[in-house]
């Protein structure tokens, strides 16, 4: 309470000056021998001026002192505090009443003026706070920056912001104000955030979208309405910072996805360029009629293996694209029989020593789908069937209509999927425990198949096992394809 002595001193000086003015007025009127009525008005003017200049305390003092002097020096019997004429009593009390009412009015006007000035200053500070929050480009946690701006602009001894998101307290200002745990728990449960024992500290709940987002603690000279206004500004600042952060994260994710896609394109180009030269050269010689049968056979192997390598590269790139979850369907109407035919043709070398049984229901409708992706999914299934069944065992590929769905089913005659693994085979990177060393693979195949099917609004699943072997089904909703035609 170090400000009190100065206030006290000022009060003493003002009281002394008040008494001096009253004494001066008395002396002047006495000396000029003015009549009692005029003297009364001069006293009144003095009281009003004092009220306007200093306040109610001084003006009441002046009124009382003036009344006493008025009585003593101007009402007969002069020189005593007694009053002979009852009329003079009335005059004296009228004077006192007028003086006090006038000084109260004047003091009220002054108080209102001061309040208005305070209000204006707080508004200016709020405006400045709003500006600093909006223009803030500083480093560090946003809550820390907000606490700093609040303390700075309102010249507070302490401003502390507790952020429920990071569960951390951010302090600013010369004093350290810790927010008590009770206040935090009260804020979280939506209760009032005040503390009787911390008289000089004020707490306000920060809400974002109706939910408690933090607590603001302030120590210093601010009015209650201003505390609320500051809390609102801080809420805006916090929301803005969080939106910005979310945007930055999304932007970073997008950039990393873009980088991945660029990298994949670069790899595709790097691998395919030499493959192109090899295939072009091999097929060029192959098409020459003068090539001997043995050379034709050997060049045929070069050609086929180039194709295989090419499909491996394409599929690996396509699969990692799908695995990243960012791919767009490029639908066009397709006939199921044609898709299966193409897949079998592409995998000719892989299926060389096997019987491939294709059972395609007659009159299957054209379906709108992404040919490249569905072919990739079918290649994965056929490749799996070849991997997990004995060499030379037949593979069945079926296409049929089932209700509103188009069904592709690939079956092998291998050992099938053990019951306890059935629910895991579609998981990303899942590989059957016994197979890890035996059969090569990434554990992405069935996951990608399911992703492709789901992107089409369908699904992929293991069929109920009937006669041994694994059966995987892709079901796709049959959609109208009219719109896809130009």
């Amino acid at each position: 309470m170090r400000v009190v002595p100065r206030d006290f001193l000022r009060s003493v000086i003002q009281a002394t000056l008040t008494l001096a003015i009253v004494a001066g007025v008395t002396a002047a009127c006495r000396f000029a021998a003015v009549n009692a009525t005029t003297t009364g008005f001069v006293y009144l003017i003095a009281v009003l001026l004092i009220a306007a200049a200093w306040g109610i305390r001084e003006s009441v003092l002046a009124s009382v002192a003036g009344m006493l002097c008025f009585n003593f020096f101007f009402f007969p019997p002069i020189g005593t505090l007694t009053i002979a004429d009852p009329h003079n009593w009335i005059a004296l009390f009228s004077f006192l009443l007028t003086a006090i009412v006038a000084s109260e009015l004047s003091a009220r006007a002054k108080r209102q003026a001061r309040a208005a000035i305070d209000r204006q200053r707080e508004l200016e500070r709020l405006y400045r706070l709003g500006r600093s929050i909006l223009l803030d480009r500083g480093d560090g946690p946003p809550a820390q920056r907000l606490a700093y701006h609040v303390a700075q602009v309102f010249e507070l001894s302490s401003a502390t912001l507790y952020d429920f998101l990071t569960e951390k307290e951010y302090r600013a200002g010369p004093d350290d104000l810790a927010i008590p745990a009770e206040v935090l728990s009260a804020a979280l449960s939506g209760g009032a955030v005040t503390r009787a024992d911390l008289v000089d500290a004020r707490f306000a709940l920060i809400r974002l979208g109706g939910k408690p987002a933090g607590v603001l603690g302030l120590r210093g000279h601010v009015s209650d309405t201003t505390v609320d206004a500051i809390a609102n500004l801080v809420a805006v600042g916090l929301e803005r910072a969080r939106t910005q952060e979310a945007e930055n994260r999304a932007e970073a994710a997008r950039q990393s996805e873009e980088l991945k896609s660029m990298l994949l394109d670069a790899i595709a180009h790097e691998f395919k360029t030499p493959l192109t030269s090899i295939k072009a050269a091999a097929t060029s010689v192959l098409s020459d009629e003068g090539v001997s049968a043995a050379h034709r056979e050997l060049l045929g192997i070069v050609d086929e293996e180039t194709d295989r390598l090419n499909h491996l590269v394409s599929d690996a790139i396509e699969m990692s694209r799908i695995e990243g979850g960012r791919f767009k369907l490029n639908r066009s109407p397709a006939r199921p029989a044609e898709l299966i035919e193409r897949v079998v043709r592409q995998m000719r070398a892989r299926l060389a020593e096997r019987e491939v049984q294709c059972e395609i229901e007659a009159a299957l409708p054209e379906t709108s789908l992404d040919r490249d992706l569905i072919e990739l999914a079918l290649r994965q299934l056929v490749d799996n069937a070849a991997k997990y069944s004995p060499a030379g065992a037949p593979i069945r590929i079926e296409a049929a209509r089932s209700g509103a769905s188009l069904l592709f089913r690939v079956s092998d005659s291998g050992p099938g999927v053990p019951p306890r693994e059935r629910q895991h085979v579609f998981d990303r990177f899942y590989r059957a425990p016994g197979n890890k060393h035996g059969v090569p693979g990434s554990g992405l195949g069935l996951y990608v198949v399911r992703e492709i099917a789901r992107a089409h609004g369908g699904d992929a699943a293991l069929a109920e096992q009937t006669a041994g072997g694994a059966q995987v089904e892709i079901s796709l909703p049959v959609e109208a394809t009219e719109s896809a035609h130009g």
Partner: protein, 227 residues
């Protein structure tokens, strides 16, 4: 033995080498360019019958090069794309290519594509010299088209497509028939070619390409020229 000047545009020296070695014995005169910029320069200096253009090149990409060449010339263009995605193919056709081949390709396939791109629909001697369809005049022998009084420049494939439709006006011609007539007997399923080329034709000859009145789509079947 086919003849013609072919410009091979690819930044990869090995691919240029294979092309040169394979195409020259086929009777083509082979030139090459290492970039889009070089290709544009070469096109300014010499008249080529066909350009084999790689899509993926540093500097000016293949698609931009294709657009630039197409803006000034109706030379046949076959693009070489790396990715076998529908969108890439459509982009190549939209840029003005007559056809595309996906890398890696087999040589017989590429040779067939080159022959198809160089191919022109033969005009029989007894066919009409001029076909008129509303505001449209087709001067068959000069391979010239006039729309609403002003001449229109069509690429050879666009002209052949229009001619194929105009040979039987008001009759819907099936996708397969159009593809085989204009590109050749190896074609038939490439409906996206037709979509792109018909769109380009419409832009050049229709009064309002968004609401075509000359070239009418018969969904699922084909196209017809309405007179």
């Amino acid at each position: 033995m086919p003849t013609g000047k072919i410009l091979v545009v690819d930044d990869e020296p090995q691919i240029r080498r294979v092309m040169r070695t394979t195409l020259a014995p086929q009777g083509y005169e082979v030139y090459d360019a290492r970039s889009g910029e070089e290709a544009l320069e070469a096109v300014r200096q010499r008249r080529f019958d066909l350009i084999l253009l790689d899509v993926n090149m540093p500097g000016m990409g293949g698609l931009d090069t294709c657009r630039e060449i197409r803006a000034a010339s109706d030379v046949a263009i076959v693009m070489l794309t790396v990715r076998n995605a529908e969108a890439d193919k459509v982009a190549a056709l939209d840029a003005g290519a007559d056809d595309y081949v996906t890398k890696p390709f087999s040589m017989p396939e590429l040779l067939a594509r080159i022959r198809a791109a160089l191919r022109r629909v033969p005009v029989s001697a007894e066919s009409a010299a001029t076909i008129e369809a509303g505001d449209l005049q087709i001067h068959v022998h000069e391979r010239r088209v006039v729309v609403r009084g002003s001449p229109v420049r069509l690429t050879p494939k666009e002209f052949d497509l229009l001619l194929c439709l105009a040979a039987n006006p008001n009759v819907t011609i099936a996708h397969t028939k159009l593809l085989q007539t204009v590109w050749g007997p190896d074609y038939g399923n490439e409906v996206e070619y037709l979509r792109t080329f018909i769109n380009q034709l419409r832009k050049k000859i229709e009064a309002d390409p968004a609401h075509p009145s000359l070239i009418v789509t018969e969904p699922w079947v084909g196209y017809r020229l309405a007179i």
